[in-house]
Amino acid sequence: MENRAIFSGKLLPYLLILPQLAVSLIFFYWPALQAVQQSFLVQDAFGLSTEFVWFENYINLLQTPEYYHAIGVTLLFSALVAFFSLGLGLLLAAMANHNIRGIQIYRTFLIIPYAVAPAVASVLFIFMFQPGLGMIARALQRGGIDWNPVLNGTHAMILVVIVAVWNQISYNFLFFLAGLQSIPKSVIEAAAIDGATPTRRFWTIIFPLLSPTTFFLIIVNITYVFFNTLGIIDTATGGGPNGATQTLVYKVFQDGKVGTDLGGSAAQSVILMIIVVGLTAFQFRYVEKKVHY
């Protein structure tokens, strides 16, 4: 009781969270507010002429068919990447959770892809999948598949999904492995004694007990797909062919950096921000109820 008196001041807790607060304000809230401000302006690249236009940038945006196309592409892309990177991450983690010789080495190797920058990962895969040059592209062509990601939108989508999944699997693997190791062995052994098959043990015991990890990873993966895959798309396909791999974040980048249309680009990032905030809030509100901690 006596000790608590030392922390009685109301100021100290605020002082202690001040560094974190400052970081959030400077690096998150301030740029976000600037984006909101910019989205109401029409401005040339050098900032020499500025016109305040209220919601015109938003209205223009909602009238372009490409924007809706980009929404569709983003939904498809995130669903595919989240599904495969979570699924494969879980599969690998379940495999690596056994006691076999040299397991430490396998685990280390499984983590390495996460250390590769997205753009670099893209280049590595381009070397393999470039028609005419890449080994895998040649193998596919010899196998009778007309592999051509520069012209075929489906192939381009497959290519960026493969790179994004490969890049993200390690992260998911790491969290799933930690999650698996925290599940008490006694529960699983008891089920085994009762005669439950490994598959049944997985789906009725392990998977539900993993749900906090899975829930966390779904949110992280969706944020990853929405924002961090920019480098992959830019290097591998440039959003093409014919917009087949143009996601929302890539369009923000294209219109802002390549097209120097800062107002339009800012309007898009504001909408993107709202979507991701909404999505995360939705998940915490509804999906979290199904999670057992």
Partner: protein
């Protein structure tokens, strides 16, 4: 003890740092996008200039890709510390010139600095791209190239083609013949819109847009969805079906398909030369771009690609004097000849071109003369002087998307071109609105 030593070292360093500005050398920042051997050329030019006099120091720094340099320059200008010289690619020209106040036109700067400067000394096919419609030079051409058709002579011979193709109908016929020996690609090209729209229009003396392709004003309107352009695209769509023609992407990432021997006919920049020389294991040559012989004006003249040096606004007269001296230094005939022969860039002065010609250099290196012959083929017209469309960097992507849709069989060639024109026009109107008047 250690701390005291450190303090002493800091004091010495501080004294040295304070002592240096006493020499009063004016520093000129030069932001560029050159890598590899081309970066060495930039560094050598700066070093040679700095050694040639003591008043000015040009400091080159590499800032990434062309788009990166442009964006870095824009950001620096907004923050109030733009470099003196910025290398900007040809499609960024409209963005730069629209920013009055952000830039200093080269001809104006040369006059104010009192440098001897004769615009007529420069090759009009090159400087025209970077000049106002009145002929005032806005930016200083640095590395220029044009588009040529690269041919794998061994592969052509194998397919029974004895004379290099000159026209599009001959190219189409040869691409079909090559299909037997090269089933994955007979013909291809890099920089799809530069080749099929920009160069194609200039070479056939037809406009891409009104107002002399935008040179006479930002209220230009695109109009390249013509029967002639449609005919070219329709032929290529047809050839794409069996890969007699095969698309290689929007930039030059597909160039390896020529040097590896996969694509025997490949249209791309003349700056591809050092790469071909180093990597092609077959007999090769480069010829002028093909044309439709029933278009009486064709071939007209080609247009350039590459980049130029822009001088940024708001600098001191002393800095402008230094930059003006540097540009005079770059224009020196012997230096231009040297740069041309070493790097493969096109010379920018008439004197340098004449001197290289007289020295017999082109007899040994005929490929290097092909782009120059294209550029100087005829006196440039309104349709072939160059182009200046706002947002051209992104416009190329928008046009390429439509061409891709046509080649993939999702749209007809005519629909694709109509869409490319209407989307492009929407972008032009947006740009016109933000351009400082």
């Amino acid at each position: 003890m250690a701390i005291r030593q450190l303090g002493a070292a800091a004091a010495v360093a501080a004294t040295l740092a304070l002592a240096t500005p006493a020499y009063a050398v004016t520093e000129i920042q030069w932001w560029h996008a050159m890598t590899g051997p081309n970066n060495d050329v930039v560094v050598k030019l700066a070093n040679d200039f700095n050694a040639s006099q003591g008043d000015y120091k040009v400091v080159p720094s590499f800032k990434g890709s062309y788009a990166d340099v442009l964006n870095a320059g824009i950001a620096a200008f907004r923050a109030g510390n733009a470099p003196g010289i910025m290398q900007v690619f040809e499609v960024g020209t409209a963005t730069m010139m629209a920013a009055k106040g952000a830039i200093k036109p080269v001809s104006e700067m040369m006059k104010e600095a009192g440098e001897a400067f004769d615009p007529k000394a420069y090759l009009p096919a090159i400087t025209g791209y970077y000049s106002t419609s009145k002929g005032d030079m806005l930016s200083f051409p640095f590395n220029s190239s044009s588009m040529v058709m690269w041919l794998n002579l061994d592969a052509l011979k194998e397919a029974g083609i004895d004379t290099p193709p000159k026209t599009w109908p001959e190219i189409f016929a040869d691409a079909k013949k090559l299909h037997a020996t090269h089933p994955t690609c007979g013909l291809s090209l890099s920089w799809i819109t530069w080749g099929l729209i920009e160069q194609f229009s200039a070479w056939h003396n037809v406009p891409i847009g009104t107002k002399a392709n935008g040179l006479d004003g930002f209220d230009t309107v695109l109009e390249f969805n013509t029967p002639l352009e449609t005919r070219l695209l329709e032929e290529l769509v047809e050839l794409q079906k069996d890969k007699s023609f095969d698309y290689s992407g929007r930039t030059n990432t597909g160039e390896g398909r020529f040097t590896s021997g996969e694509c025997p006919m490949y249209m791309t920049s003349s700056a591809f030369y050092p790469n071909v020389k180093a990597n092609a294991k077959f007999a090769y040559t480069a010829v002028a771009m093909p044309y439709f012989p029933d278009v009486t004006a064709a071939p007209q003249n080609s247009i350039i690609g590459g980049a130029s040096l822009w001088v940024m606004g708001g600098k001191t007269p002393e800095e402008y004097k230094g930059i003006a001296k540097f540009f005079t230094f770059l224009s020196d005939t012997d230096r231009q000849v040297y740069l041309h022969e070493v790097s493969g860039y096109l010379p920018i002065t008439k004197a340098a071109y004449e001197k290289t010609k007289d020295s017999g250099f082109y007899e040994k290196n005929p490929i290097l003369q092909v782009p120059l012959k294209e550029l100087t083929n005829k006196e440039p017209t309104e349709n072939s002087r160059g182009l200046r469309f706002g947002g051209m960097v992104q416009m190329r992507d928008v046009w390429a998307e439509e061409i891709e849709a046509a080649l993939a069989g999702k749209e007809t060639a005519k629909d694709a071109l109509d869409k490319a024109v209407s989307k492009g026009n929407a972008m032009l109107r947006q740009f016109e609105r933000t351009a400082t008047k």
